[in-house]
């Protein structure tokens, strides 16, 4: 049994399973964000959304009363073999198996025939320069406190966040890493949490292409990573307050006491 919700796409209502909805929404948002960086990109994203609506309509006409996650995956595969949306179908030479040898011939031919082809290539080269960045993010979806350890595990590609967590804990308890909790809290405050599929790609140092995005969106839906929010903020505040109470206040009290003694002695001398 699955929870079902109702969505409105261009004025038509569709019943869709909750997990299917999450996948679809992530997909559309990713495409929107991807294309929004290019000229006319919003229009392309809008076209894609229209097409999604049409494909959903067809399925409903065929008697499908509720859209499930398989259907959404089908639709994503139909529209979004995103390697090609990125416009590198020619360069890649893959995924177009039937053309095979003929492809290179057509390529050669077109290189000097088709001015439009050249213009297209230029436009795409300009528009699709993918920036590959590797950034540190806290994991918003896999965390005990702030997700700093799991963030480190993903960033360094060392797999299990558990080892990082145990390491930090052990070092702290052994007294070697006393500054570690402070570093942890500082990192918690200053680094962002990975909330979108793009963040998760940057976190792993992967290029943000529609292909990778689609892949990531699918993976997220498989691992039931819901569009995460940076929760546990309250927890952070509690920790900082606890920290203040345990260390800072005794410190102030301590020096305050000294202050009074000094004052007392000063009074006595005078």
């Amino acid at each position: 049994m699955k929870k079902n919700i109702s969505i409105n796409l261009f004025g038509t209502l569709y019943n869709i399973d909750e997990d299917a909805y999450t996948l679809l929404e992530n997909y559309l948002q990713s495409m929107q964000r991807y294309f929004s960086r290019q000229e006319g990109g919003e229009e392309v994203a809008d076209d894609i959304e229209h097409r999604v609506a049409e494909l959903l309509w067809q399925r409903r006409e065929a008697g499908m009363t509720a859209i499930n996650i398989e259907t959404v995956k089908e639709i994503i595969d139909t529209i979004g073999n995103a390697e090609q949306i990125a416009g590198d179908s020619g360069n890649a030479g893959q995924g177009t198996g039937n053309i095979g040898q003929g492809n290179s011939f057509k390529e050669d031919l077109n290189q000097f025939t088709n001015e439009a082809g050249r213009l297209a290539r230029d436009a795409y080269d300009k528009g699709y320069k993918h920036v590959k960045t590797h950034r540190f993010y806290r994991c918003a979806n896999d965390k005990i406190l702030g997700g700093v350890c799991s963030g480190l595990a993903v960033y360094t590609n060392t797999g299990e966040p558990l080892l990082w967590r145990l390491g930090v804990l052990a070092l702290t308890l052994l007294g070697i890493g006393l500054p570690l909790p402070i570093i942890y809290i500082v990192m918690w405050i200053v680094t962002p949490a990975a909330l979108t599929p793009e963040d998760r790609l940057r976190q792993q140092g992967k290029e943000i292409t529609p292909e990778n995005l689609t892949q990531q969106v699918k993976e997220d839906s498989q691992q039931m990573v819901m569009p995460a929010r940076d929760t546990h903020r309250g927890c952070l505040i509690a920790i900082i307050i606890a920290f203040v109470i345990i260390f800072i206040i005794p410190l102030i009290a301590f020096f305050g006491m000294f202050g009074r003694i000094w004052l007392h002695m000063f009074n006595m001398i005078v």
């Binding site: 995103a82 179908s89 492809n103 057509k106 077109n110 082809g117 050249r118």
Partner: protein
């Protein structure tokens, strides 16, 4: 490049009659030109922004309204030029093949 081919093909297809994205894909498939749907949208948008195509919305009985693309005057001109250069090339190639 196939992308160049694709543009030429789209212009050829739209020369006769206006069509919307899915028609174009089906026609291209008929002609053994393999196109993923997603490829087409950026391409159509760019051809439109270059002034070669124009579209108008039409209500559809099978879902949301559709964009019907057709050639503009510039589009027809570009197509004529492409036809000419295509002719030249194929003449050259055919000559060399003999």
């Amino acid at each position: 490049m196939r992308k160049g081919m694709l543009e030429y093909s789209i212009l050829l297809l739209l020369k006769q009659q206006a069509a919307y994205a899915n028609d174009i894909i089906l026609r291209l498939r008929e002609a053994d030109m393999i196109v993923m749907e997603g490829t087409l949208y950026p391409l159509l948008t760019r051809l439109k922004n270059d002034g070669l195509l124009a579209y108008e919305w039409k209500e559809s009985t099978q879902g949301p309204p559709r964009k019907y693309y057709k050639l503009t005057t510039d589009g027809h001109e570009a197509l004529t030029q492409l036809d000419t250069s295509w002719e030249e090339i194929s003449r050259t190639i055919n000559y060399l093949k003999q």
